[in-house]
């Protein structure tokens, strides 16, 4: 068996993949926080952004894929104890596909930034992580989420966009939280590499 660090074939990677899938699951258990204007936010999409930023695109793909497989097999790992194949036919199913692609895009973006400025720390790192989670965790995720909503609920693009608009402020907060977390992890574990595949 080859031991490329970027894939699931490496035992070390397997541990990180399982770990981050668990982080996504635990973020679903942490109670929901209600924003002042009444929209609930759960932390699970923060987990997705974090996976993309910290693990790089390849392992982010395996991590979110593993999480979704566990959900599909019937484990109630989504926030609110949801799980099973049923969540993949719900109107919000597009977001689940968006998680997978979004995490990968977030990882690609993070890697590209870090390759260009490998010494980024402090403010630079904050901005890079914020932008990466914004691209992967909001732009890409909402693209698929809105697409799913259009198909399942027979809405036009404008109508579907309006329906999810209320969640964007909460997700912006999550992007900021993700940036702070990435920075703390890099500070707490200086050996952590952000530019891997």
């Amino acid at each position: 068996m080859t031991t490329t660090t970027g894939t699931m074939t490496s035992t070390r990677s397997l541990s990180y993949i399982a770990l981050f899938a668990a982080v996504i699951a635990v973020f679903g258990l942490i109670p929901k926080i209600d924003l002042p204007f009444g929209v609930p936010i759960t932390l699970q999409s923060l987990g997705i952004m974090l996976v993309g930023c910290l693990l790089g695109p390849k392992r982010a793909f395996y991590t979110v894929g593993l999480f979704l497989v566990a959900v599909a097999l019937g484990l109630p790992l989504l926030s609110g104890g949801r799980g099973g194949v049923a969540v993949f036919v719900a109107p919000s199913a597009g977001f689940l596909l968006g998680w997978l692609i979004g995490a990968v895009v977030c990882g690609v973006s993070m890697r590209q930034f870090m390759k260009r400025m490998p010494e980024a720390k402090g403010k630079g790192l904050l901005i890079v992580a914020f932008l990466s989670s914004l691209i992967g965790g909001i732009v890409v995720m909402y693209f698929f989420g809105i697409l799913g909503l259009m198909l399942a609920a027979h809405l036009s693009a404008t109508q579907a966009t309006l329906a999810v608009l209320a969640f964007i402020p909460g997700d912006l907060v999550k992007c900021a939280a993700c940036a702070v977390l990435v920075q703390s992890v890099v500070r707490g574990m200086p050996s952590w590499r952000l530019d891997r595949d």
């Binding site: 068996m1 070390r12 397997l14 541990s15 770990l19 668990a22 497989v69 049923a86 993949f88």
Partner: protein, 197 residues
């Protein structure tokens, strides 16, 4: 963790997992292709009757459908208000019927049986380097990690409460993430020592 699987045996428990999966995909396809109100109403009635035939094992998982019912009602109401009640009715019935079919699979099929089917389906991907046989190990690790982190989060939260009298909330995410990564490194070392690479 509350799994969706019901230990209360129903007639559907005895049907092999692969057959149920095939039936689910066929049922889902039929639902997708049915576009007229009468057709979808008949299909939904059949699904409802099948779901009811599971008895209390099915109704006990009612909470899984509650959110979807609200979403379907909103979709139907929206299209009604826009002057296309038929489109709303078809979308809402389709979502509910598909979700019920999927939930029936989750309620009556053991996790291990579904995993076996999944491994069989994915096994051709082995040629492209996907270590299919490690999916079970990865999911097991994920669940163990999730339990571990939830306990760690509660411990951090208790410690924070003892110091400040308030719940820690988002402030605990950074220490939690760093602890999680340190645990993952230890597990990675342990796995590498036992499995190699």
């Amino acid at each position: 963790m509350r799994s969706l699987y019901s230990t209360r045996r129903t007639w559907l428990h005895g049907v092999p997992a692969w057959l149920k999966l095939v039936a689910l995909s066929l049922g889902g396809t039929v639902l997708m292709l049915t576009a007229d109100v009468r057709g979808i109403a008949i299909a939904a009635a059949i699904v409802l009757a099948l779901f009811a035939s599971l008895g209390p094992a099915g109704w006990r998982q009612w909470r899984m459908l509650r959110g979807l019912l609200i979403a379907s009602a909103l979709i139907a109401g929206f299209h009604w208000a826009m002057g296309h009640p038929a489109i709303g009715l078809v979308s809402a019935l389709r979502i509910m019927a598909a979700a019920m079919l999927a939930l029936m699979l989750s309620i009556t099929t053991r996790f291990d049986d579904l995993l076996t089917v999944l491994e069989t389906i994915l096994s051709p991907l082995r040629r492209f380097g996907l270590p299919v046989e490690r999916i079970a190990l990865a999911i097991g690790l994920t669940l163990r990690f999730a339990e571990n982190f939830y306990a760690q989060w509660q411990r951090l939260d208790d410690a924070h409460r003892a110091r400040t009298g308030r719940s820690g909330g988002l402030r605990l995410l950074a220490p939690l993430a760093i602890r999680a990564l340190q645990t993952a490194e230890r597990v990675a070392d342990a796995l590498a020592a036992r499995l190699g690479g």
